[in-house]
Protein backbone atom coordinates (compact mmCIF):
# COMPACT_ATOMS: atom_id res chain seq x y z
CA UNK A 1 0.00 0.00 0.00
CA UNK A 2 2.94 2.27 0.54
CA UNK A 3 4.40 1.11 -2.77
CA UNK A 4 5.99 3.82 -4.85
CA UNK A 5 4.01 3.08 -7.96
CA UNK A 6 0.31 3.96 -7.96
CA UNK A 7 -1.78 0.85 -8.44
CA UNK A 8 -5.04 0.36 -10.33
CA UNK A 9 -6.74 0.21 -6.94
CA UNK A 10 -5.56 3.75 -6.29
CA UNK A 11 -7.07 5.13 -9.48
CA UNK A 12 -10.38 3.34 -8.94
CA UNK A 13 -10.66 4.60 -5.38
CA UNK A 14 -9.52 8.09 -6.34
CA UNK A 15 -12.29 8.19 -8.94
CA UNK A 16 -14.78 6.94 -6.35
CA UNK A 17 -13.63 9.63 -3.93
CA UNK A 18 -13.95 12.26 -6.67
CA UNK A 19 -17.53 11.15 -7.36
CA UNK A 20 -18.31 11.32 -3.64
CA UNK A 21 -17.03 14.90 -3.44
CA UNK A 22 -19.05 15.77 -6.56
CA UNK A 23 -22.11 14.19 -4.93
CA UNK A 24 -21.55 16.35 -1.84
CA UNK A 25 -20.93 19.64 -3.59
CA UNK A 26 -22.89 19.30 -6.85
CA UNK A 27 -26.38 20.07 -5.54
CA UNK A 28 -25.07 22.84 -3.30
CA UNK A 29 -23.42 24.57 -6.22
CA UNK A 30 -26.60 24.44 -8.32
CA UNK A 31 -28.50 26.48 -5.76
CA UNK A 32 -25.62 28.92 -5.46
CA UNK A 33 -25.85 29.40 -9.25
CA UNK A 34 -29.63 29.58 -9.30
CA UNK A 35 -29.71 32.24 -6.60
CA UNK A 36 -28.39 34.61 -9.29
CA UNK A 37 -31.39 33.73 -11.46
CA UNK A 38 -32.78 36.60 -13.55
CA UNK A 39 -35.90 38.49 -12.37
CA UNK A 40 -38.23 36.33 -14.47
CA UNK A 41 -36.46 33.05 -13.87
CA UNK A 42 -37.92 30.09 -12.03
CA UNK A 43 -36.81 27.45 -9.56
CA UNK A 44 -34.95 25.34 -12.11
CA UNK A 45 -32.55 25.78 -14.99
CA UNK A 46 -32.22 27.35 -17.52
CA UNK A 47 -30.95 30.60 -16.09
CA UNK A 48 -33.17 33.38 -17.32
CA UNK A 49 -30.53 36.09 -17.19
CA UNK A 50 -28.38 36.99 -14.22
CA UNK A 51 -29.43 39.32 -11.43
CA UNK A 52 -29.18 40.11 -7.75
CA UNK A 53 -32.97 40.48 -7.66
CA UNK A 54 -33.49 37.59 -5.21
CA UNK A 55 -30.85 38.78 -2.81
CA UNK A 56 -32.58 42.16 -2.69
CA UNK A 57 -35.88 40.37 -2.24
CA UNK A 58 -34.44 38.71 0.84
CA UNK A 59 -34.26 42.01 2.68
CA UNK A 60 -37.79 43.12 1.85
CA UNK A 61 -39.43 41.69 4.94
CA UNK A 62 -42.98 41.32 3.64
CA UNK A 63 -41.83 39.09 0.79
CA UNK A 64 -40.16 36.30 2.72
CA UNK A 65 -41.24 36.70 6.31
CA UNK A 66 -38.89 37.73 9.06
CA UNK A 67 -35.48 36.91 7.59
CA UNK A 68 -33.49 39.46 9.61
CA UNK A 69 -35.10 38.54 12.92
CA UNK A 70 -34.75 34.80 12.49
CA UNK A 71 -31.17 35.19 11.29
CA UNK A 72 -30.13 37.23 14.32
CA UNK A 73 -31.91 34.81 16.67
CA UNK A 74 -30.10 31.85 15.11
CA UNK A 75 -26.77 33.68 15.29
CA UNK A 76 -27.27 34.59 18.95
CA UNK A 77 -28.45 31.09 19.83
CA UNK A 78 -25.48 29.58 17.98
CA UNK A 79 -23.05 31.73 19.96
CA UNK A 80 -24.74 30.86 23.27
CA UNK A 81 -24.65 27.16 22.45
CA UNK A 82 -21.03 27.42 21.30
CA UNK A 83 -19.80 29.08 24.50
CA UNK A 84 -21.75 26.71 26.74
CA UNK A 85 -20.61 23.64 24.82
CA UNK A 86 -16.93 24.60 25.02
CA UNK A 87 -17.00 25.32 28.77
CA UNK A 88 -19.19 22.39 29.82
CA UNK A 89 -17.35 19.86 27.60
CA UNK A 90 -13.96 21.02 28.84
CA UNK A 91 -15.04 20.73 32.48
CA UNK A 92 -16.59 17.32 31.88
CA UNK A 93 -13.47 16.19 30.02
CA UNK A 94 -11.34 17.14 33.03
CA UNK A 95 -13.72 15.34 35.36
CA UNK A 96 -13.77 12.14 33.28
CA UNK A 97 -10.00 12.23 33.07
CA UNK A 98 -9.68 12.33 36.84
CA UNK A 99 -12.45 9.80 37.35
CA UNK A 100 -15.33 10.07 39.80
CA UNK A 101 -18.17 8.02 41.21
CA UNK A 102 -20.88 7.79 38.56
CA UNK A 103 -18.57 8.52 35.64
CA UNK A 104 -19.82 5.51 33.69
CA UNK A 105 -23.55 6.31 34.00
CA UNK A 106 -22.86 9.94 33.03
CA UNK A 107 -20.85 8.75 30.03
CA UNK A 108 -23.71 6.52 28.89
CA UNK A 109 -26.19 9.35 29.47
CA UNK A 110 -24.06 11.54 27.22
CA UNK A 111 -24.00 8.87 24.51
CA UNK A 112 -27.76 8.41 24.85
CA UNK A 113 -28.18 12.10 24.20
CA UNK A 114 -26.59 11.47 20.84
CA UNK A 115 -28.84 8.58 19.86
CA UNK A 116 -32.21 9.74 21.17
CA UNK A 117 -34.03 10.94 18.01
CA UNK A 118 -34.29 14.70 17.80
CA UNK A 119 -38.06 14.62 17.41
CA UNK A 120 -38.22 13.03 20.87
CA UNK A 121 -36.11 15.76 22.42
CA UNK A 122 -38.31 18.33 20.75
CA UNK A 123 -41.56 16.69 21.89
CA UNK A 124 -40.22 15.96 25.37
CA UNK A 125 -38.97 19.46 26.09
CA UNK A 126 -42.18 20.91 24.64
CA UNK A 127 -44.27 18.70 26.94
CA UNK A 128 -42.06 19.30 29.98
CA UNK A 129 -42.37 23.05 29.53
CA UNK A 130 -46.12 22.74 29.05
CA UNK A 131 -46.51 20.64 32.20
CA UNK A 132 -44.34 23.04 34.20
CA UNK A 133 -46.39 25.96 32.89
CA UNK A 134 -43.35 27.61 31.30
CA UNK A 135 -43.43 29.35 27.98
CA UNK A 136 -41.00 27.86 25.45
CA UNK A 137 -38.51 30.34 24.00
CA UNK A 138 -35.59 30.07 21.65
CA UNK A 139 -33.21 31.18 24.42
CA UNK A 140 -34.52 28.70 27.01
CA UNK A 141 -36.12 25.53 25.68
CA UNK A 142 -34.51 25.59 22.22
CA UNK A 143 -31.16 26.44 23.85
CA UNK A 144 -31.43 23.33 26.02
CA UNK A 145 -32.60 21.21 23.10
CA UNK A 146 -29.56 22.22 21.05
CA UNK A 147 -27.21 21.46 23.94
CA UNK A 148 -28.43 17.84 24.03
CA UNK A 149 -27.02 17.54 20.49
CA UNK A 150 -23.81 19.60 20.76
CA UNK A 151 -22.63 18.50 24.23
CA UNK A 152 -22.14 14.80 23.35
CA UNK A 153 -19.96 15.83 20.41
CA UNK A 154 -17.99 18.19 22.64
CA UNK A 155 -17.56 15.61 25.40
CA UNK A 156 -16.51 12.89 22.94
CA UNK A 157 -13.92 15.21 21.39
CA UNK A 158 -12.57 16.08 24.86
CA UNK A 159 -12.55 12.37 25.71
CA UNK A 160 -10.45 11.64 22.63
CA UNK A 161 -8.12 14.56 23.41
CA UNK A 162 -7.49 13.63 27.03
CA UNK A 163 -7.01 9.95 26.21
CA UNK A 164 -4.01 10.93 24.11
CA UNK A 165 -2.81 13.62 26.51
CA UNK A 166 0.43 12.72 28.26
CA UNK A 167 0.34 13.60 31.96
CA UNK A 168 4.11 14.16 31.74
CA UNK A 169 3.60 17.82 30.76
CA UNK A 170 1.56 18.56 33.84
CA UNK A 171 3.86 16.59 36.08
CA UNK A 172 6.78 18.57 34.76
CA UNK A 173 4.91 21.79 35.51
CA UNK A 174 4.12 20.58 39.04
CA UNK A 175 7.73 19.60 39.60
CA UNK A 176 8.69 23.14 38.67
CA UNK A 177 6.33 24.36 41.39
CA UNK A 178 3.18 25.19 39.47
CA UNK A 179 -0.15 24.99 41.28
CA UNK A 180 -2.84 22.84 39.70
CA UNK A 181 -4.50 25.98 38.34
CA UNK A 182 -1.22 27.15 36.82
CA UNK A 183 -0.56 23.74 35.33
CA UNK A 184 -4.02 23.85 33.82
CA UNK A 185 -3.96 27.42 32.53
CA UNK A 186 -0.39 27.50 31.23
CA UNK A 187 0.20 23.91 30.19
CA UNK A 188 -3.00 21.95 29.59
CA UNK A 189 -5.13 24.70 28.11
CA UNK A 190 -2.65 25.85 25.42
CA UNK A 191 -2.04 22.25 24.36
CA UNK A 192 -5.73 21.47 23.89
CA UNK A 193 -6.67 24.91 22.47
CA UNK A 194 -7.06 23.71 18.85
CA UNK A 195 -9.46 20.98 19.97
CA UNK A 196 -11.48 23.55 21.89
CA UNK A 197 -11.78 25.62 18.72
CA UNK A 198 -13.06 22.46 17.03
CA UNK A 199 -15.62 21.92 19.80
CA UNK A 200 -16.73 25.52 19.39
CA UNK A 201 -17.10 25.08 15.62
CA UNK A 202 -19.29 22.03 16.15
CA UNK A 203 -21.30 23.81 18.82
CA UNK A 204 -22.03 26.78 16.63
CA UNK A 205 -22.74 25.10 13.30
CA UNK A 206 -24.84 22.26 14.75
CA UNK A 207 -26.99 24.79 16.58
CA UNK A 208 -27.16 27.27 13.70
CA UNK A 209 -28.47 24.56 11.36
CA UNK A 210 -30.63 22.59 13.79
CA UNK A 211 -34.19 22.09 12.69
CA UNK A 212 -35.83 19.07 14.33
CA UNK A 213 -34.87 19.95 17.90
CA UNK A 214 -36.12 23.51 17.47
CA UNK A 215 -39.47 22.54 16.01
CA UNK A 216 -41.45 22.37 19.24
CA UNK A 217 -39.09 24.31 21.46
CA UNK A 218 -38.59 27.65 19.71
CA UNK A 219 -41.76 29.24 21.07
CA UNK A 220 -43.36 32.07 19.16
CA UNK A 221 -40.29 33.27 17.26
CA UNK A 222 -38.72 31.25 14.46
CA UNK A 223 -35.05 30.47 14.15
CA UNK A 224 -33.55 30.57 10.66
CA UNK A 225 -33.94 26.85 9.77
CA UNK A 226 -37.61 26.98 10.84
CA UNK A 227 -38.07 30.09 8.71
CA UNK A 228 -36.44 28.40 5.70
CA UNK A 229 -38.57 25.31 6.16
CA UNK A 230 -41.69 27.47 6.32
CA UNK A 231 -40.62 29.07 3.06
CA UNK A 232 -40.31 25.75 1.24
CA UNK A 233 -44.07 25.32 1.44
CA UNK A 234 -45.16 28.78 0.33
CA UNK A 235 -42.31 30.44 -1.58
CA UNK A 236 -41.94 29.46 -5.21
CA UNK A 237 -39.30 31.95 -6.33
CA UNK A 238 -35.50 31.70 -6.30
CA UNK A 239 -35.47 33.88 -3.17
CA UNK A 240 -35.38 30.51 -1.41
CA UNK A 241 -32.04 29.81 -3.08
CA UNK A 242 -30.77 33.27 -2.24
CA UNK A 243 -31.53 32.56 1.41
CA UNK A 244 -29.85 29.17 1.05
CA UNK A 245 -26.79 30.79 -0.49
CA UNK A 246 -26.55 33.40 2.28
CA UNK A 247 -26.88 30.90 5.13
CA UNK A 248 -24.41 28.53 3.48
CA UNK A 249 -21.91 31.37 3.14
CA UNK A 250 -22.34 32.14 6.84
CA UNK A 251 -21.57 28.48 7.63
CA UNK A 252 -18.52 28.60 5.35
CA UNK A 253 -17.33 31.81 7.03
CA UNK A 254 -17.61 30.22 10.48
CA UNK A 255 -15.71 27.13 9.33
CA UNK A 256 -13.06 29.40 7.76
CA UNK A 257 -12.64 31.41 10.95
CA UNK A 258 -12.28 28.24 13.02
CA UNK A 259 -9.69 26.71 10.67
CA UNK A 260 -7.76 29.98 10.51
CA UNK A 261 -7.68 30.14 14.31
CA UNK A 262 -6.34 26.59 14.50
CA UNK A 263 -3.71 27.42 11.85
CA UNK A 264 -2.62 30.53 13.76
CA UNK A 265 -2.26 28.55 16.98
CA UNK A 266 -0.20 25.94 15.12
CA UNK A 267 2.08 28.59 13.63
CA UNK A 268 2.68 30.25 16.98
CA UNK A 269 3.65 26.87 18.35
CA UNK A 270 6.11 26.24 15.59
CA UNK A 271 7.65 29.62 16.35
CA UNK A 272 8.02 28.60 19.98
CA UNK A 273 9.53 25.34 18.90
CA UNK A 274 6.88 23.05 20.40
CA UNK A 275 5.19 20.45 18.32
Amino acid sequence: MQADRRTLEFYLLAAFFGLFVLFLYGPLSTILLLSFQGPNGGLTFPMNGVSLRWFQNLFETQAVGDFGGSFSRSLMLGLMVMATTVVVSLLAGLAFRRGFLGATPLFYLTISSLVVPSILISLGIGLAFQIAGLEPNWWSSAFGAHLTWTLPFGVLIMFAVFNRFSPAYEEAARDLGATSWQAFAHVVLPIIAPSLVGVGLFGFTLSYDEFARTLMTAGSFNTLPLEIYGMTTNVTTPVLYALGAVTTLVSFAVIGIALATIAIIARQRRKLGVS
Partner: protein
Amino acid sequence: MSVAAEAAPAAVSDAPAPKRRRRAPPFAPYLQAMPLGLILGAFLLLPIAAIVIVSFWDYDSVQIYPAFVTLNYAETLGSWVTWSTLLNTLKFVAIVWAITLFVGFWVAYFLAFHVRTSKMQTLLFLVCTVPFLTSNIIRMISWVPFLGRNGLLNSALVEAGIVPAPLEFLLFSEFAVVLAMVHLYSLFMVTPIFNTLVRIDRSLIEAARDAGANGFQILWNVIIPLAKPGIAIGSIFVITLVLGDFITVRFMSGGQSASMGLMIANQISLLQYPAAAANAVALLVLVLIMMAAILRIVDIRKEL
Protein backbone atom coordinates in the same frame (compact mmCIF):
# COMPACT_ATOMS: atom_id res chain seq x y z
CA MET B 1 1.79 35.70 32.97
CA SER B 2 1.65 38.47 35.56
CA VAL B 3 -1.60 37.12 36.97
CA ALA B 4 -0.05 33.71 37.39
CA ALA B 5 3.04 35.17 39.02
CA GLU B 6 0.90 36.97 41.58
CA ALA B 7 -1.26 33.95 42.21
CA ALA B 8 1.66 31.62 42.75
CA PRO B 9 2.85 32.61 46.23
CA ALA B 10 -0.65 32.58 47.66
CA ALA B 11 -1.37 29.17 46.22
CA VAL B 12 1.90 27.73 47.43
CA SER B 13 1.33 28.98 50.97
CA ASP B 14 -2.12 27.42 50.91
CA ALA B 15 -0.73 23.97 50.26
CA PRO B 16 1.62 22.62 52.94
CA ALA B 17 4.78 21.04 51.63
CA PRO B 18 4.00 17.32 52.13
CA LYS B 19 0.68 17.68 50.34
CA ARG B 20 2.10 19.50 47.34
CA ARG B 21 2.05 16.44 45.14
CA ARG B 22 -1.55 15.73 45.99
CA ARG B 23 -3.94 16.38 43.13
CA ALA B 24 -6.83 18.78 43.55
CA PRO B 25 -9.37 17.94 46.28
CA PRO B 26 -11.47 14.87 45.45
CA PHE B 27 -14.69 16.82 45.04
CA ALA B 28 -13.31 18.79 42.08
CA PRO B 29 -14.35 16.22 39.44
CA TYR B 30 -17.90 16.30 40.78
CA LEU B 31 -18.04 20.06 40.38
CA GLN B 32 -16.57 19.77 36.90
CA ALA B 33 -19.03 17.09 35.82
CA MET B 34 -22.02 18.84 37.39
CA PRO B 35 -22.90 21.24 34.53
CA LEU B 36 -23.04 18.34 32.07
CA GLY B 37 -25.13 16.26 34.45
CA LEU B 38 -27.53 19.11 35.19
CA ILE B 39 -28.05 20.04 31.53
CA LEU B 40 -28.61 16.45 30.44
CA GLY B 41 -30.87 15.88 33.42
CA ALA B 42 -33.00 18.91 32.63
CA PHE B 43 -33.13 18.63 28.84
CA LEU B 44 -32.83 14.89 28.25
CA LEU B 45 -33.99 12.87 31.27
CA LEU B 46 -36.86 15.14 32.37
CA PRO B 47 -38.26 15.49 28.82
CA ILE B 48 -38.16 11.71 28.33
CA ALA B 49 -39.92 11.32 31.67
CA ALA B 50 -42.49 13.85 30.44
CA ILE B 51 -43.04 11.82 27.27
CA VAL B 52 -43.53 8.61 29.26
CA ILE B 53 -45.99 10.32 31.62
CA VAL B 54 -47.98 12.02 28.88
CA SER B 55 -48.17 8.77 26.90
CA PHE B 56 -50.63 7.60 29.57
CA TRP B 57 -52.69 10.80 29.48
CA ASP B 58 -56.03 11.31 27.81
CA TYR B 59 -56.83 13.93 25.20
CA ASP B 60 -59.56 15.36 23.03
CA SER B 61 -59.44 17.75 20.11
CA VAL B 62 -58.76 20.73 22.38
CA GLN B 63 -56.41 19.69 25.14
CA ILE B 64 -54.69 16.90 27.05
CA TYR B 65 -55.75 15.64 30.50
CA PRO B 66 -53.71 14.00 33.24
CA ALA B 67 -54.99 10.44 33.53
CA PHE B 68 -53.79 6.88 33.46
CA VAL B 69 -55.04 5.21 30.31
CA THR B 70 -53.26 2.63 28.21
CA LEU B 71 -55.49 3.56 25.30
CA ASN B 72 -52.70 5.40 23.44
CA TYR B 73 -50.55 2.29 23.40
CA ALA B 74 -53.47 0.04 22.54
CA GLU B 75 -54.36 2.32 19.65
CA THR B 76 -50.88 2.60 18.24
CA LEU B 77 -49.84 -1.03 18.72
CA GLY B 78 -53.18 -2.32 17.50
CA SER B 79 -53.15 -0.35 14.28
CA TRP B 80 -51.72 -1.80 11.10
CA VAL B 81 -50.70 1.74 10.07
CA THR B 82 -48.14 1.77 12.88
CA TRP B 83 -46.69 -1.58 11.87
CA SER B 84 -46.45 -0.75 8.18
CA THR B 85 -44.90 2.62 9.07
CA LEU B 86 -42.42 0.80 11.27
CA LEU B 87 -41.62 -1.60 8.45
CA ASN B 88 -41.13 1.32 6.06
CA THR B 89 -38.80 3.01 8.58
CA LEU B 90 -36.76 -0.16 8.96
CA LYS B 91 -36.57 -0.43 5.17
CA PHE B 92 -35.05 3.07 5.00
CA VAL B 93 -32.67 2.15 7.83
CA ALA B 94 -31.47 -0.98 6.05
CA ILE B 95 -30.99 0.63 2.64
CA VAL B 96 -29.35 3.82 3.90
CA TRP B 97 -27.14 1.87 6.30
CA ALA B 98 -25.92 -0.46 3.56
CA ILE B 99 -25.16 2.39 1.14
CA THR B 100 -23.48 4.67 3.69
CA LEU B 101 -21.42 1.75 4.97
CA PHE B 102 -20.20 0.92 1.46
CA VAL B 103 -19.52 4.54 0.50
CA GLY B 104 -18.14 5.48 3.91
CA PHE B 105 -15.77 2.53 4.08
CA TRP B 106 -14.21 3.08 0.67
CA VAL B 107 -13.91 6.83 1.11
CA ALA B 108 -12.25 6.30 4.50
CA TYR B 109 -10.08 3.53 3.05
CA PHE B 110 -8.91 5.79 0.25
CA LEU B 111 -8.08 8.59 2.68
CA ALA B 112 -6.31 6.33 5.15
CA PHE B 113 -4.30 4.08 2.84
CA HIS B 114 -3.87 5.84 -0.48
CA VAL B 115 -3.33 9.46 0.50
CA ARG B 116 0.31 9.60 1.44
CA THR B 117 0.87 12.74 3.49
CA SER B 118 -1.13 13.47 6.61
CA LYS B 119 -1.49 17.09 5.46
CA MET B 120 -3.27 15.92 2.31
CA GLN B 121 -5.37 13.51 4.39
CA THR B 122 -6.52 16.34 6.63
CA LEU B 123 -7.26 18.57 3.66
CA LEU B 124 -9.33 15.96 1.80
CA PHE B 125 -11.12 15.02 5.01
CA LEU B 126 -12.03 18.68 5.54
CA VAL B 127 -13.36 18.83 1.98
CA CYS B 128 -15.74 16.00 2.94
CA THR B 129 -16.65 17.62 6.26
CA VAL B 130 -17.54 21.13 5.14
CA PRO B 131 -20.95 20.29 3.58
CA PHE B 132 -21.96 18.53 6.78
CA LEU B 133 -21.54 21.74 8.70
CA THR B 134 -24.11 23.50 6.52
CA SER B 135 -27.88 23.45 6.85
CA ASN B 136 -29.65 20.12 6.31
CA ILE B 137 -32.72 21.90 5.00
CA ILE B 138 -30.72 23.78 2.39
CA ARG B 139 -28.95 20.59 1.38
CA MET B 140 -32.31 18.94 0.82
CA ILE B 141 -33.68 21.88 -1.13
CA SER B 142 -30.56 21.82 -3.28
CA TRP B 143 -31.69 18.51 -4.80
CA VAL B 144 -34.84 20.12 -6.26
CA PRO B 145 -33.25 21.88 -9.26
CA PHE B 146 -31.21 18.76 -9.91
CA LEU B 147 -33.84 16.03 -9.67
CA GLY B 148 -37.07 17.88 -10.49
CA ARG B 149 -39.24 17.25 -13.52
CA ASN B 150 -37.44 20.03 -15.41
CA GLY B 151 -34.27 19.54 -13.43
CA LEU B 152 -30.71 19.12 -14.67
CA LEU B 153 -30.70 15.34 -14.65
CA ASN B 154 -33.99 14.95 -16.50
CA SER B 155 -33.07 17.56 -19.10
CA ALA B 156 -29.76 15.83 -19.69
CA LEU B 157 -31.36 12.38 -19.94
CA VAL B 158 -34.08 13.55 -22.34
CA GLU B 159 -31.64 15.48 -24.50
CA ALA B 160 -29.28 12.53 -24.70
CA GLY B 161 -32.21 10.41 -25.81
CA ILE B 162 -31.80 7.94 -22.97
CA VAL B 163 -35.38 8.39 -21.80
CA PRO B 164 -38.32 9.65 -23.91
CA ALA B 165 -39.97 11.70 -21.14
CA PRO B 166 -38.74 13.17 -17.84
CA LEU B 167 -38.48 10.55 -15.09
CA GLU B 168 -41.07 11.20 -12.41
CA PHE B 169 -39.58 9.07 -9.68
CA LEU B 170 -36.45 11.16 -9.20
CA LEU B 171 -37.97 13.76 -6.90
CA PHE B 172 -40.68 13.33 -4.27
CA SER B 173 -40.28 9.60 -4.03
CA GLU B 174 -38.64 7.02 -1.78
CA PHE B 175 -35.67 7.10 -4.14
CA ALA B 176 -35.23 10.80 -3.35
CA VAL B 177 -35.55 10.10 0.39
CA VAL B 178 -32.77 7.50 0.30
CA LEU B 179 -30.57 9.72 -1.89
CA ALA B 180 -30.97 12.70 0.44
CA MET B 181 -30.35 10.59 3.55
CA VAL B 182 -27.13 9.19 2.07
CA HIS B 183 -26.18 12.75 1.17
CA LEU B 184 -26.93 14.02 4.66
CA TYR B 185 -25.59 11.19 6.79
CA SER B 186 -22.64 9.53 5.01
CA LEU B 187 -20.05 11.62 6.84
CA PHE B 188 -21.21 10.06 10.10
CA MET B 189 -19.93 6.78 8.65
CA VAL B 190 -16.75 8.16 7.03
CA THR B 191 -15.39 9.88 10.15
CA PRO B 192 -15.33 6.99 12.66
CA ILE B 193 -14.13 4.46 10.07
CA PHE B 194 -11.38 6.85 8.94
CA ASN B 195 -10.37 7.28 12.58
CA THR B 196 -9.92 3.55 13.14
CA LEU B 197 -8.23 2.96 9.77
CA VAL B 198 -5.51 5.59 10.26
CA ARG B 199 -4.61 4.04 13.61
CA ILE B 200 -4.04 0.56 12.18
CA ASP B 201 -0.40 -0.36 12.63
CA ARG B 202 1.04 -0.61 9.12
CA SER B 203 3.43 -3.36 10.15
CA LEU B 204 0.42 -5.67 10.60
CA ILE B 205 -0.33 -5.28 6.90
CA GLU B 206 3.31 -5.82 6.01
CA ALA B 207 3.31 -8.96 8.15
CA ALA B 208 0.20 -10.28 6.41
CA ARG B 209 1.77 -9.63 3.03
CA ASP B 210 5.03 -11.31 4.05
CA ALA B 211 3.00 -14.31 5.19
CA GLY B 212 1.59 -14.53 1.68
CA ALA B 213 -1.83 -12.91 1.99
CA ASN B 214 -3.26 -11.35 -1.15
CA GLY B 215 -4.97 -7.96 -1.26
CA PHE B 216 -8.42 -9.34 -0.57
CA GLN B 217 -7.24 -11.49 2.32
CA ILE B 218 -5.52 -8.49 3.89
CA LEU B 219 -8.71 -6.48 3.55
CA TRP B 220 -11.00 -9.20 4.87
CA ASN B 221 -8.84 -10.72 7.61
CA VAL B 222 -6.80 -7.76 8.81
CA ILE B 223 -8.27 -4.39 7.93
CA ILE B 224 -12.01 -5.01 8.32
CA PRO B 225 -11.72 -6.74 11.73
CA LEU B 226 -9.59 -3.84 12.98
CA ALA B 227 -12.07 -1.31 11.53
CA LYS B 228 -15.05 -2.88 13.32
CA PRO B 229 -15.26 -0.34 16.15
CA GLY B 230 -15.36 2.51 13.64
CA ILE B 231 -17.99 0.69 11.60
CA ALA B 232 -20.02 0.17 14.79
CA ILE B 233 -19.88 3.84 15.79
CA GLY B 234 -20.77 4.96 12.28
CA SER B 235 -23.63 2.46 12.20
CA ILE B 236 -25.01 3.76 15.51
CA PHE B 237 -25.04 7.28 14.09
CA VAL B 238 -26.62 6.41 10.76
CA ILE B 239 -29.18 3.95 12.15
CA THR B 240 -30.40 6.28 14.90
CA LEU B 241 -30.47 9.30 12.57
CA VAL B 242 -32.55 7.44 9.98
CA LEU B 243 -34.81 5.86 12.62
CA GLY B 244 -35.74 9.26 14.04
CA ASP B 245 -35.79 11.17 10.78
CA PHE B 246 -38.97 12.92 9.78
CA ILE B 247 -37.91 16.01 7.91
CA THR B 248 -36.10 14.24 5.06
CA VAL B 249 -38.97 11.79 4.63
CA ARG B 250 -41.55 14.59 4.66
CA PHE B 251 -39.69 16.89 2.29
CA MET B 252 -38.10 14.47 -0.16
CA SER B 253 -41.05 12.09 -0.51
CA GLY B 254 -43.47 14.98 -0.97
CA GLY B 255 -45.78 13.35 1.59
CA GLN B 256 -45.87 10.02 -0.23
CA SER B 257 -43.90 8.01 2.27
CA ALA B 258 -44.02 7.48 5.99
CA SER B 259 -41.67 6.91 8.90
CA MET B 260 -42.05 6.63 12.66
CA GLY B 261 -40.57 10.10 13.12
CA LEU B 262 -42.93 11.60 10.56
CA MET B 263 -45.92 9.90 12.18
CA ILE B 264 -44.94 11.46 15.51
CA ALA B 265 -44.39 14.88 13.88
CA ASN B 266 -47.83 14.70 12.25
CA GLN B 267 -49.51 13.81 15.54
CA ILE B 268 -47.69 16.73 17.18
CA SER B 269 -49.00 19.14 14.56
CA LEU B 270 -52.52 17.77 15.21
CA LEU B 271 -51.91 18.42 18.94
CA GLN B 272 -52.45 14.72 19.72
CA TYR B 273 -49.62 14.79 22.24
CA PRO B 274 -50.48 11.61 24.17
CA ALA B 275 -50.66 9.59 20.94
CA ALA B 276 -47.39 11.16 19.76
CA ALA B 277 -45.85 10.36 23.15
CA ALA B 278 -46.89 6.69 22.96
CA ASN B 279 -45.30 6.40 19.53
CA ALA B 280 -42.24 8.26 20.79
CA VAL B 281 -41.83 5.70 23.59
CA ALA B 282 -42.09 2.91 21.00
CA LEU B 283 -39.47 4.64 18.84
CA LEU B 284 -37.18 5.13 21.83
CA VAL B 285 -37.42 1.44 22.73
CA LEU B 286 -36.54 0.56 19.15
CA VAL B 287 -33.52 2.87 19.17
CA LEU B 288 -32.29 1.48 22.49
CA ILE B 289 -32.65 -2.12 21.26
CA MET B 290 -30.64 -1.31 18.12
CA MET B 291 -27.96 0.46 20.14
CA ALA B 292 -27.72 -2.30 22.72
CA ALA B 293 -27.31 -4.83 19.93
CA ILE B 294 -24.43 -2.87 18.40
CA LEU B 295 -22.78 -2.19 21.76
CA ARG B 296 -22.86 -5.91 22.56
CA ILE B 297 -20.61 -6.47 19.57
CA VAL B 298 -18.17 -3.62 20.23
CA ASP B 299 -17.18 -1.70 23.34
CA ILE B 300 -16.85 1.76 21.86
CA ARG B 301 -15.44 3.27 25.05
CA LYS B 302 -12.10 1.58 24.40
CA GLU B 303 -11.97 3.17 20.99
CA LEU B 304 -12.06 6.82 21.92
